[in-house]
C-alpha cells in the first residue's frame, strides 16, 4: 500500500479521523442532551413534582446521581479531549501530506495532544475520587428489600496510557528540534 496519494494509508487515516471527529461530536451532543434530561428529571423528582418508583437493580443502579452527574461531567470532558486530539491529528496529517512535516506548529500540535491525554487520564482518576466523595457525603438510597452493591474495583493501574503520553512528549521534542534544523537549513546559503 502506498504511503501517500489516493488509496494510501494516509488518505485512509484522514478519512478515519474525519469520521472519528464527527462521531465524537455526535456523542457529545447526545451526552449533553442526556445530562440536561437527567438533571430535569432529577430536579422534578427532588422537588416532589413527580414520583418515579423503579427497582434499584441492574442498570438502574448507575442512574443514581452520585454516579450519573460526575459521569456526565467527566464524559463531556473526555469527549471534548478526544475531539481536541482528533482535530490536532488531522492538522498534523495535512502537513505530512503536503510534504512539510517538520514545522513548528506540528511540535505544538503534539504538545497539545499529550497535555490533553494527561488531562483525560487525570480526569478518570478524579472521577473515581468524586464519586467516592459524593457517596461518602450523601450516601446511597436505602432500600430494605435490596442491597445496592457498588463495585468500584479496577483491574489494576494501567500504565499504557502513561507510556503513550511519554512517547508523545518525546515526539513533540523531536519535531521541535526537526523544525529548528529545517529552519536553519532553509537559511543556509
Amino acid at each position: 500500500m502506498k504511503a501517500l496519494g489516493k488509496g494510501s494509508i494516509a488518505s485512509l487515516l484522514k478519512v478515519g479521523l474525519l469520521i472519528a471527529e464527527i462521531v465524537f461530536w455526535i456523542c457529545l451532543g447526545v451526552l449533553a442532551l442526556a445530562a440536561v434530561g437527567y438533571s430535569a428529571v432529577l430536579g422534578l423528582v427532588l422537588s416532589g413534582t413527580i414520583e418515579i418508583d423503579f427497582p434499584l437493580d441492574g442498570p438502574w443502579e448507575n442512574l443514581m446521581w452520585q454516579l450519573a452527574l460526575p459521569a456526565f461531567i467527566v464524559g463531556a470532558f473526555w469527549l471534548g479531549g478526544a475531539i481536541v486530539i482528533v482535530r490536532r491529528l488531522r492538522r498534523l496529517f495535512e502537513s505530512f501530506t503536503s510534504g512539510e512535516p517538520f514545522k513548528r506548529e506540528n511540535a505544538n500540535h503534539l504538545r497539545v495532544i499529550w497535555m490533553t491525554m494527561l488531562a483525560m487520564e487525570l480526569a478518570k482518576i478524579a472521577f473515581a475520587g468524586i464519586v467516592i466523595t459524593l457517596i461518602a457525603i450523601y450516601g446511597m438510597p436505602a432500600d430494605p428489600d435490596h442491597d445496592v452493591n457498588l463495585n468500584m474495583s479496577s483491574d489494576g493501574f494501567d500504565l499504557m496510557p502513561w507510556f503513550s503520553i511519554l512517547v508523545l512528549i518525546v515526539l513533540a521534542e523531536v519535531f521541535r528540534e526537526g523544525a529548528r534544523l529545517r529552519e536553519e537549513q532553509e537559511l543556509t546559503i
Partner: protein
C-alpha cells in the same frame, strides 16, 4: 549574530549588481538577498568559494566579526538553554 556579511560594499566596489552576482555564482537572488541582509544562519563553503571566485576577494573581506551587546546576551541565553 555577530558575523556581518559585507556584500553591499564589495558589490559597490566591483560595480556589480546582485542579479549579476546571482547569475555568476549560481545562487538564487532570494538567497543572496538573505545573505546580504544578515538573515542567513549558515553559509556553505561551496557558496563562499563561488562568491570569492566571482568577486575576487578573500573570505575575510566578505565576512567580519562585530560583536554587540545584544549578541553577547543572545549567546549567554543560548548557553544557558544548553
Amino acid at each position: 549574530m555577530a558575523i556581518r556579511v559585507t556584500l553591499d560594499r564589495i558589490l559597490l566596489d566591483r560595480r556589480m549588481s546582485l542579479t549579476d552576482l546571482s547569475e555568476k555564482v549560481g545562487v538564487t537572488l532570494a538567497n543572496l538577498s538573505i545573505l546580504k541582509t544578515g538573515k542567513a544562519k549558515a553559509i556553505r563553503f561551496s557558496t563562499l568559494n563561488a562568491l570569492c571566485r566571482v568577486l575576487d576577494c578573500q573570505p575575510g573581506e566578505l565576512l567580519t566579526y562585530e560583536p554587540s551587546e545584544d549578541d553577547a546576551l543572545e549567546e549567554a541565553a543560548d548557553q544557558a538553554a544548553e
